[in-house]
């Protein structure tokens, strides 16, 4: 069973490799935003020491790392599920002996792996080269960071999956997609670090899954915020909750599909 999922992961990874020119262009865009955000945070810290638990250096590192991870932990995203449902492709996938949700997640992890190699690493190298990012001081944090990134990616992809399953019921989901993308963009911390949110907004965000996508791995890297294990525990909880939701909605969608004679 697992080998089937791994096979899809591998195929997905290999397919991404063919988009070479698009990757260079995308890398350029990521690098651009990296320099832009870093410059912004450097400027706002002039005359301020510590704000929201971050100083100038850590805020710039936050911005840099956010760009490094933004493709690996997808905030924006057509993950293809909406199209597959509308085109009917999903019916074929559901005939396979594997669960469509886990199948999609396998593909998405393959894509994330690709972006680790082709975006995250070059951007991280760039960040280190210009002095924004420093390699981990505590080596023991590295495996924890990696696990955290994987969980963050899992939560983000599950969220996109959940949103796109609306295609089972809604014809034109562009509004929903706009809305949902805006929400994750904002509450994950990549537009503005959660540290800079007013306290009331931070309290709300804590009970939502979004900051556990990209904000938590960054906090782990920075060594700020609460206990690492506490953060990762909440990530795990959200992974399970999102997965359960996706599986449940998927089964409802399957019923919908068969009712409409699909």
């Amino acid at each position: 069973m697992l080998s089937i999922y791994l096979a899809f992961l591998e195929v997905s990874f290999k397919r991404q490799i063919t988009y070479r020119i698009a990757n260079w262009a995308g890398l350029f865009t990521n690098a651009f935003f990296l320099f832009f955000k870093v410059a912004l945070f450097e400027a706002i810290y002039v005359g301020n020491e510590v704000v929201g638990g971050l100083n100038s250096t850590s805020a710039m590192a936050y911005a840099g790392l956010a760009q490094v991870l933004v493709m690996v932990i997808p905030q924006w995203g057509n993950i293809g599920v909406g199209e597959e449902i509308r085109s009917g492709q999903v019916a074929i996938d559901m005939c396979r002996p594997v669960n469509y949700y886990f199948l999609t997640m396998s593909k998405r992890l393959g894509i994330s792996l690709y972006y680790v190699l082709m975006r995250a690493m070059p951007l991280a190298a760039l960040g280190i080269f210009v002095g924004i990012l420093i390699p981990f001081k505590n080596l023991a944090h590295i495996p924890l960071f990696i696990i955290s990134v994987v969980m963050g990616s899992w939560i983000a992809n599950s969220y996109h999956f959940l949103v796109e399953t609306s295609a089972f019921w809604i014809e034109n989901a562009r509004g929903l997609k706009t809305l949902s993308t805006g929400i994750i963009y904002f509450l994950s911390g990549i537009i503005l670090p959660i540290n800079f949110f007013p306290v009331w907004a931070q309290n709300i965000s804590r009970f939502l899954p979004f900051e556990y996508t990209i904000n938590v791995p960054i906090q782990i890297y920075l060594g700020t915020g609460s206990n690492i294990f506490e953060l990762m525990f909440f990530q795990l909880i959200w992974c399970l909750v999102m997965s359960a939701q996706c599986i449940w909605v998927l089964s409802k969608g399957e019923n919908q599909l068969t009712v409409h004679g699909g």
Partner: protein, 248 residues
């Protein structure tokens, strides 16, 4: 009936996204007093300029963004045999709600910034605003054209110009003074988004003079934008010739 529902849902989506955009800036200024001496509503002013100019450029040059698709599909040949300029033929009016939403967002932002900054509508101030506004529109249209023209050489569309367009509008929301030298030079003299939005505005708000340019140079913005368009236009024409000569 369901079409109307999805329409409303779409409107709601853009409404929320606008709120989120503003919330991000608002939260930023709750935590920090100013950005290199620029306050919340001055940033909102820049934001309004950038958003509305981009929206209008998108509405006018809508089809240029999809140009690469037309070329890749081989449909461009049909366009070339028409007796009028390809560009004129490809400028339909298409209704895209998200463009209008962005325009509304920009207009609202501008409006609020005028109110909260108590901007006086003197001839100079209006001229400075319009200078930035029209110059930005021309530059964004040029970038869309450049993106389309690049399709004549590569099959996959060039995201480089998209980075300059959407990245450019993002960075134009903050004063140019916060960026490193090389970024300033890039956006002042090569892709003059920074020039046309920052100079007139810094004069309007009486901010420090970057590079000690004489004040009237702010009014050169439209000419700089047109010159930029001219360069891109040449690139476009060269592209068409290249396309024709590869024997399609």
């Amino acid at each position: 009936m369901s079409y109307q529902k999805s329409y409303i849902l779409e409107l709601l989506g853009y409404f929320v996204v606008t709120g989120i955009d503003f919330a991000a800036i608002y939260f930023l200024f709750e935590s920090f007093p100013a950005v290199k001496g620029w306050s919340l509503w001055e940033i909102v002013y820049l934001y309004g300029l950038g958003s509305s100019a981009l929206a209008i450029a998108q509405l006018s040059g809508e089809v240029l963004e999809d140009m690469s698709l037309i070329i890749r599909n081989g449909e461009f040949d049909q366009v070339l045999i028409k007796p009028i300029s390809p560009l004129l033929f490809l400028m339909p009016q298409s209704f895209r709600l998200d463009r209008f939403a962005r325009l509304a967002q920009g207009v609202l932002a501008s409006g609020f910034s005028f109110y909260y900054l108590n901007i006086i509508f003197s001839w100079t101030n209006v001229a400075l605003f319009l200078c930035s506004f029209f110059s930005l529109i021309i530059i964004f249209i040029s970038l869309f054209l450049a993106n389309a023209a690049t399709s004549f050489w590569t099959i996959q569309s060039s995201e480089v110009f998209n980075a300059f367009t959407y990245g450019g509008v993002e960075m134009s929301k903050f004063p140019l003074t916060i960026y490193k030298r090389w970024m300033q030079v890039l956006f002042l003299f090569f892709i003059p988004i920074g020039f046309v939005i920052f100079f007139p505005t810094s004069i309007l708000f009486e901010k420090e003079n970057l590079l000690n340019f004489p004040k009237f140079s702010a009014f050169l913005s439209p000419f700089i934008a047109i010159a930029f368009f001219g360069v891109i236009w040449v690139y476009w024409r060269v592209g068409i010739r290249h396309y024709q000569s590869t024997g399609s």
